[in-house]
């Protein structure tokens, strides 16, 4: 079978899995739904591998195939096909998405075991994987937007999965609204592309673009900026990032899949895919790069003071995606994608470990209450350590190689881009500090009461179920988390998934060691051929210098964290006292939520209220109610004829007869 045929199968499997889990929720027993979901995505992964093998059989220049099922809309100059585009970039994304998704499905199989909405969860999760694959495999902008929108919906459905929690539904709505803003940008960009280039198809657009546009012409800059709006909303970059921390209201597997490994990387994929357009609009590319840099730093600083475990990891995600955005904006496409892959591994792993710990803490997510889990949960703490080492770019781990790849490229490009290198390393330092802040606060030390209970009895603490954000007491029925909590040590499926990811987090970097092998770069190279930026390749020597600097910084960061949280635990307290204003500023997330509320939300609500009072009430309601009243009046007038009196009916009858007779008399005379 050809690569495209396998690709269609890749799309089909999770879709079928989603439908089966959704429709069969009465018929299929609970665990079977989980198995079906996991199997579906696993099959998709295998089909992806088969497509890869198939693709590798082609010579490098011709490793791109488009295939379409049918013409979706073909009239008046539009020619949109339901088509996919299989090339190294899409297969790369497919493998990352399906691979990590399979492991996360496996994790959820155990983690969501006692939840009343088990079927619904796996149906949504499979649907999400399907939409993400659709996004990645799309061969034209229309299908991309379709996948984009589906992914947004799936994210909404999964964030507000525990739908009877008010905080969860609000978070879901927030995420969806911000995503829709991004969708608008994307759709407008697509319109502009069609207007300028006359097609939605990738191959045609990317061929024609260099001929039609001059460098930095305002149209292409506008297109790229609109694409960026979409990308940033999806990937939680400034200023569209406020939904991501709130999205932690969803179950941990959701955070791990959507908000670490896959959905938030859609923006990065978009920029990489449309790199041709961005190279024609360097202004937009620079704006993207600087936004990514800003996000990197802002998110890193916020993560330093976050006390909610999942939210801290969420800000870390934001920060790392900032790295990826910087990477694909300045031209380090393969490096950016490599970091995407390694980040998927270790971030998913970190979320999984966090989920395990939070389960042990009976859904309490505050790290102030957590201590001593190193002793209580051996496996989880080892997994967390692996993930953290990779995140902090400890030498030898996957994160080490991938992050520094990007920074080495920035150095090589030189000029203004050295800012990225410098600030990128600053960011790496902050990353190391906040990562190991979490590690050193949660794992070592005298066990907290939940951990102690685990050590002593081997059972989990089960307090009254509470909403972790507001503290109010909750139910455990449908729409809320289930009554049981699952930790990795007791659930084999969780253990298996985390083990695989730990291995990958530690060792996946070795596919791309500078000077030794460059599997990722050489695989992805054909995608960017013809691009002047992608041709810049840092030399082995400069790469190793970068790696050395990175290693040093990572070690320093870990050391700082160790000193502040293990050796001298009173230091953070004193720092907070002394720099109180800074701490408050960071703890309030740089006041972005408040700013958006003031600048966007309140004016919008005011406009809505005004429109309701003025236009809606008079014009729309007037039309509708007026019509209703007119019809009603007319009806009552006509209704008066039927008064129930036989004699009046007889009268009418005879009147009619007389009238007819008159008519015939007149016409026949």
């Amino acid at each position: 079978m050809s690569a495209t045929a396998w690709a269609w199968l890749v799309l089909l499997c999770p879709l079928v899995g989603s439908i089966v889990c959704a429709l069969g929720y009465r018929v299929v027993p609970a665990r079977a739904a989980g198995a079906i979901g996991t199997l579906a995505v696993g099959l998709a992964f295998l089909c992806g591998v088969a497509a890869l093998v198939n693709l590798l059989g082609d010579p490098a220049e011709s490793r791109h195939h488009a295939s379409s099922l049918w013409d979706y809309a073909s009239a008046a100059g539009l020619d949109i096909k339901l088509g996919i585009y299989v090339d190294p970039l899409s297969i790369f994304m497919v493998l990352v998405v399906t691979g990590v998704s399979t492991l996360i499905h496996l994790y959820s199989f155990g983690y969501m075991g006692s939840d009343a909405g088990y079927h619904r969860f796996f149906s949504y999760l499979n649907f999400f994987v399907f939409s993400m694959l659709l996004l990645v495999l799309a061969g034209n902008f229309v299908l991309l937007i379709v996948g984009w929108a589906f992914v947004g919906f799936a994210s909404y459905a999964l964030i507000s999965f525990w739908y009877r929690r008010a905080t969860a539904t609000r978070a879901g709505m927030k995420a969806f609204v911000i995503n829709v803003v991004g969708d608008i940008g994307l759709v407008l960009a697509a319109f502009l592309i069609f207007q300028q280039l006359g097609s939605f198809d990738y191959t045609e657009v990317f061929e024609k673009a260099p001929e039609v546009f001059q460098t930095n012409e305002w149209t292409i800059v506008a297109i790229c900026l609109l694409l960026l709006v979409g990308a940033f909303a999806k990937s939680a970059q400034l200023p569209f990032h406020t939904w991501l921390p709130d999205a932690m209201e969803g179950p941990t597997p959701v955070s791990s899949l959507i908000h670490a490994a896959t959905m938030v990387t859609a923006g990065v994929y978009l920029i990489a895919r449309t790199h041709v357009l961005f190279e024609l609009a360097p202004t937009a590319a620079d704006i993207a790069a600087f936004t990514g840099l800003a996000t990197l730093l802002v998110a890193g600083t916020i993560a330093l003071v976050m006390t909610d475990l999942k939210r801290a990891i969420a800000y870390s995600t934001m920060s790392q995606i900032g790295y990826m955005v910087v990477g694909v904006s300045i031209g380090a496409y393969s490096a950016g994608m490599f970091h995407l892959m390694t980040h998927a591994f270790f971030k998913a792993l970190l979320f999984m470990a966090a989920g395990s710990i939070i389960s042990a803490m009976a859904n309490n997510q505050n790290i102030d209450d957590m201590r001593g889990f190193g002793k209580a949960m051996r496996f989880t703490s080892i997994a967390m350590l692996c993930g953290s080492l990779a995140l902090a770019a400890f030498p030898g781990t996957s994160g080490f190689f991938s992050k520094d790849e990007i920074l080495a490229y920035a150095t090589d490009r030189g000029g203004m881009y050295l800012i990225f290198t410098v600030l990128g390393y600053v960011g790496a330092l902050i990353t190391a500090v906040y990562t190991f802040r979490l590690v050193f606060r949660v794992l070592p030390g005298k066990p907290c009461k939940e951990a102690q209970e685990l050590i002593d009895t081997g059972h989990l603490a089960h307090e009254t179920p509470r909403n972790p954000a507001t503290g109010e007491v909750e139910d455990t029925d449908v729409g809320f988390p289930g009554p049981e909590h699952h930790i990795a040590e007791q659930t084999p499926s969780m253990k298996g998934a985390m083990a695989v990811l730990s291995f990958l987090a530690l060792f996946a970097g070795f596919v791309q060691v500078p000077g030794l092998d460059h599997m990722v770069i050489s695989f992805l190279e054909p995608v960017w051929e013809g691009s002047p930026l992608a041709a810049i390749e840092p030399s082995t020597a400069s790469s190793w210098v970068g790696l050395a600097i990175g290693a040093a910084i990572s070690a320093v960061g870990i050391g700082i964290a160790y000193w502040a949280y293990v050796l001298r635990p009173e230091v953070p307290g004193k720092l907070i006292e002394r720099f109180g204003w800074l701490h408050t500023f960071l703890a309030n997330k740089w006041y972005f939520d408040e700013a958006i509320d003031l600048l966007v939300v309140r004016p919008a609500l005011a406009i809505g209220r005004f429109a309701n009072r003025s236009f809606e009430r008079f014009v729309v309601d007037g039309l509708v109610n007026g019509t209703r009243e007119t019809v009603g009046e007319a009806g009552s007038v006509v209704r008066a004829v039927q008064n129930g009196f036989v004699r009046s009916y007889a009268l009418l009858l005879l009147v009619g007869f007389a009238g007819l007779a008159l008519y015939f008399l007149i016409t026949s005379s």
Binding site: Q642, N643, G644, F645, V646, A650, L651, L654
Partner: protein, 99 residues
């Protein structure tokens, strides 16, 4: 007499019957007026039959008589049933079918 006199007479009787239906409220009288109208029709039929020279009109008139008889039977049966149920014998008070 010319046939047209009979026809005019027939239409006169017909209209008297029609007006009677419209004016009277007792069901019995209404049925009687209905008989008037039917008989007017019969007269017209027989007149035409004589005018054409054909006896088919008379046969038709006979059939009309039979139908009238049946209708009277059923109508009076209804009337008797209404009376038995102690409902008012007044066409205006039986108006459940109002819209």
């Amino acid at each position: 007499m010319n046939i047209e006199w009979y026809l005019v007479l027939s239409s006169l009787l017909f209209t008297i019957g029609a007006v009677g239906i419209l004016i009277r409220r007792s069901p019995i009288v209404i049925l009687l007026c209905l008989e008037l109208m039917l008989n007017a029709g019969n007269l017209a039929l027989v007149a035409f039959s004589r005018e054409v020279g054909n006896q088919q009109g008379q046969v038709f008139a006979l059939v009309v008589m039979v139908v009238a008889a049946c209708e009277v039977v059923v109508g009076l049966g209804l009337l008797v049933a209404i009376f038995r149920r102690k409902l008012p014998m007044n066409v205006d008070d039986l108006r459940e079918l109002r819209g």
